[in-house]
């Protein structure tokens, strides 16, 4: 028996094989889609054919309406994400390393992490209305508490020896926090931001559920009324591609800013 086979666990495979497997699974999915639609197995208002989705895309790129939707979705996502990340990073780091901060915050995060964001939408509408603020708050609520928990975990895992070592070099408590704890957390923080950015995209449709007049989520919901499955799929693909791009940007940023970090 060979333990270096394609079918052995935790064994690297050639780059070509990896690419082929990836392309293969995407190909199968696309083939299945073509078969269902061009083969006449599904009506167009159930599942649009690939060329219809493409045509819908070309039209909306031509009249720039797709970019308008992308722009307004990006505004919502980025605002909500920044609003969450800016306090969550320092608070999470302190929470993971200071028992007092943890004791104060943990009951709230522990409770909030299980509340579906959609359950809070009625309250949000009552409190802040149906403008863009409400949509931004949905993204904020969907990411903030998860970020706190993940980042506090990153901070809790920073080696105690690293901190003790700084003390023996003459650092004060404040210097230990600023010069050791915070930088030591950065790789984990970047990973958390990357993951939660992905989650922020998954909240988009929920955020644009109420009283939106633009945005990819709105485009999808609106298309549903007319059973325009081509536009729905176009919206889904656009969100997926934008998600991939932001993910890639985060990866690039981490490699650039944190090249000292061993675990890339």
């Amino acid at each position: 028996m060979s333990t270096r086979s394609l079918f052995a666990p935790k064994v690297d495979i050639p780059r070509g094989a990896a690419l082929a497997l990836g392309a293969g699974s995407v190909g199968v999915l696309l083939g299945f889609w073509c078969l269902l639609t061009y083969g006449g197995f599904t009506p167009p208002d159930f599942l649009a054919a690939p060329d219809k989705v493409l045509a819908a895309g070309v039209k909306r790129i031509g009249d720039l309406s797709l970019f308008r939707h992308i722009g307004s979705s990006l505004t919502v996502i980025l605002s909500g994400f920044l609003l969450a990340s800016i306090p969550a990073v320092p608070l999470g780091i302190l929470m993971g390393s200071f028992r007092a901060v943890q004791a104060a915050i943990e009951p709230i995060t522990g409770f909030m992490r299980y509340i579906p964001v959609s359950a809070l939408i009625p309250l949000l509408i009552l409190w802040i209305g149906i403008g863009i603020e409400q949509k931004i708050m949905v993204i904020f609520l969907g990411t903030f508490f998860q970020q706190l928990i993940l980042i506090s975990d990153v901070s809790a895992r920073v080696s105690k020896d690293l901190i003790d070592c700084a003390y023996t070099l003459g650092a004060s408590r404040r210097q230990v926090v600023q010069r050791i704890l915070f930088p030591a957390c950065m790789p984990g923080v970047m990973d958390t931001l990357r993951v939660t950015m992905g989650w922020a995209w998954t909240y988009l449709v929920v955020a644009e559920l109420v009283a939106a007049d633009s945005g990819l989520g709105y485009m999808i919901l609106n298309a549903m009324r007319g059973l325009f499955t081509d536009v729905i799929l176009l919206g889904v693909f656009t969100i997926g591609v934008l998600g991939l791009i932001t993910d890639f940007l985060f990866k690039l940023l981490r490699q650039r800013l944190l090249s000292w970090s061993a675990d890339l």
Binding site: S159, T168, L169, G170, A184, S259, W260, A262
Partner: protein, 268 residues
Amino acid sequence: MSLLALDHVTVRFKPKGKPEVTALDDVSLRVAHDTFAVIVGPSGCGKSTLLRLVAGLETPTSGSMALDGQPIAGPSADRGMVFQSYTLFPWLSVRENVMFGPKLKGLPKAECEDIADDLIRAVGLSGFERSFPKELSGGMRQRVALARALANDPRILLMDEPFGALDSQTRQLMQELLLEVWQARRKTVLFITHDIDEAIFLGDAVHVMTARPGRIKRSLSIDIPRPRDLDALTSPDFMRYKREVLHLMHDEAVLAATPRREAIRLAS
């Protein structure tokens, strides 16, 4: 007068939901100026606790500690420490790591760099000033850690099994390097190990500790001439010391294993 004096120091830990542990029991210890003191003992006997006390990272339950007559309270740049785990700051280059202490003291940048480059040369890492820790091997990282601890020109250098994670060839080289640096700079060193050869090769004095609770069982003064080289390791004097420490340690290992056996018998 000795530089470091510990008198009747006892440390008890009370972990939540677990029985109290007496890590050190009535330990008294003297370390003379500019000497190399080694503490050797079985693992879990309280060696790290003892060193962390001197570093100011732990406080004694009772007893007193003084450096040059001044009571020890909290960590300070006077007492530099090299840890067993790799503790280089990974976001700083080798030079920046070594400069960490002097910079905290507020020395001008050029002076910090001079101090750092001097020490990096002393530990044989010239040319690696701009490298980052992730690019270095374990032995190289510990050399930088040594240089970094020395950069503060501490009054005592504390080393907690600093070569414990290295392979035996690298460890031997590191011991020779350490003696070389120590000989050149004349520092007081308190070094911890569970390796008997390492203890005798390095030390002017070797203190053998008992298993839990940790006490100093016997202190030997090692009269092997310096500078010591590889041949010292096989000299008759070395063998005599080694035999003595081996017996002391063996008794402790047996003792350390006994209560555990008892506990298993009681539990079943």
